[in-house]
Symmetry: C2
Subunit: 189 residues, 2 copies
């Protein structure tokens, strides 16, 4: 059992995984626990796609890279600019060759979608850690536009991907990246 605050300190973004597959029943358990997250008006808008196949994960990476690079051509001031060189490397997999990818998605039109899915993702990452699994939220992995590929993975047209979370057994765990001092703007007493 992991005690708190050990949990807070041990949760790291993992980008280096063992080859070992993640059993589906463990992913299901993590999803069940994650659904205890709070949501706006208890709306629970989150939906899940589990991709436990490295070949399909690689195709999703290629599709996301292609679309990110196309967006960069149209908008050179994009926040993705700093990743351009990495994205142009044909060997770079945005999902870091993880054995499993869980897409957290929900209705495009819902105002609270990003916040609801981010809270769920936080629960997901803690629940995975408790099962000795590493995770990383891949912000570069949401740009899936190809209708055939979206259909293949079962994404409804009225939904969008908010949080692509890679999951696997960590080969190595990085040190805590530097944290700035908390910016407390004012204390009103």
């Amino acid at each position: 059992m992991i005690e708190f605050p050990e949990l807070l300190i041990k949760r790291r973004s993992i980008r280096d995984y063992e080859g070992k597959a993640v059993p589906l029943e463990i992913i299901r358990k993590i999803i069940n626990e994650s659904c205890l997250a709070p949501s706006s008006g208890n709306g629970q808008p989150w939906k899940f796609i589990i991709i436990n196949n490295r070949n399909i994960i690689k195709r999703l990476s290629d599709e996301s890279k292609k679309n990110l690079l196309a967006d960069l051509e149209n908008n050179p001031d994009s926040e993705a600019k700093k990743y351009e060189e990495t994205l142009r490397d044909p060997n770079f997999n945005v999902f870091y060759n993880a054995p499993c990818l869980v897409l957290i998605a929900g209705p495009r039109k819902l105002l609270s979608l990003y916040v609801d899915c981010a809270l769920l993702a936080c629960y997901f990452m803690f629940s995975a850690l408790e099962k000795r699994l590493g995770t990383c939220w891949i912000g570069l992995g949401t740009n899936i536009k190809d209708p055939a590929l979206l259909k293949e993975i079962g994404m409804p047209a009225d939904c969008k991907i908010v949080a692509p979370i890679i999951v696997g057994y960590p080969k190595s765990t990085p040190v805590i990246p530097e944290r700035i001092d908390p910016q407390i703007l004012k204390i009103v007493t």
Copy 2:
């Protein structure tokens, strides 16, 4: 010490608080722990305002209610419509008379602001729970527009409030609101 997954099950949205104040050093400790949350590109964009004064919290509630009701006049299809009757009740305090309110805010222009602050808020709520404090994310509490009031609480013009979190010692803890079965759209193996 709280063990996981006890933590997931015990975290509830608390809307009923003891009168007892929350010591500032505990709030600071919760904020320090929360800053271990991951953020997009490790940007750590979150900023904090601690309001440990029920009178000012009441004024923020009145301001938020006023603006929500004005928005409803202009947009009768707003998602706030279902709260209209409650908002018109002069005795309703959107912050549930909690003794402490922490505003989690950040730069308006940042694309990842909502997701980054939601992850931080999740850490905040767990960290508070470990210290036997209750919390609730008050979605109705972000509508502070009065420039004098924003100045009084120290909110910079280029920042916006993402997560107003109330904090206090729970008088009662509600049961877990009903959860729907996890919506797993597809498992690709």
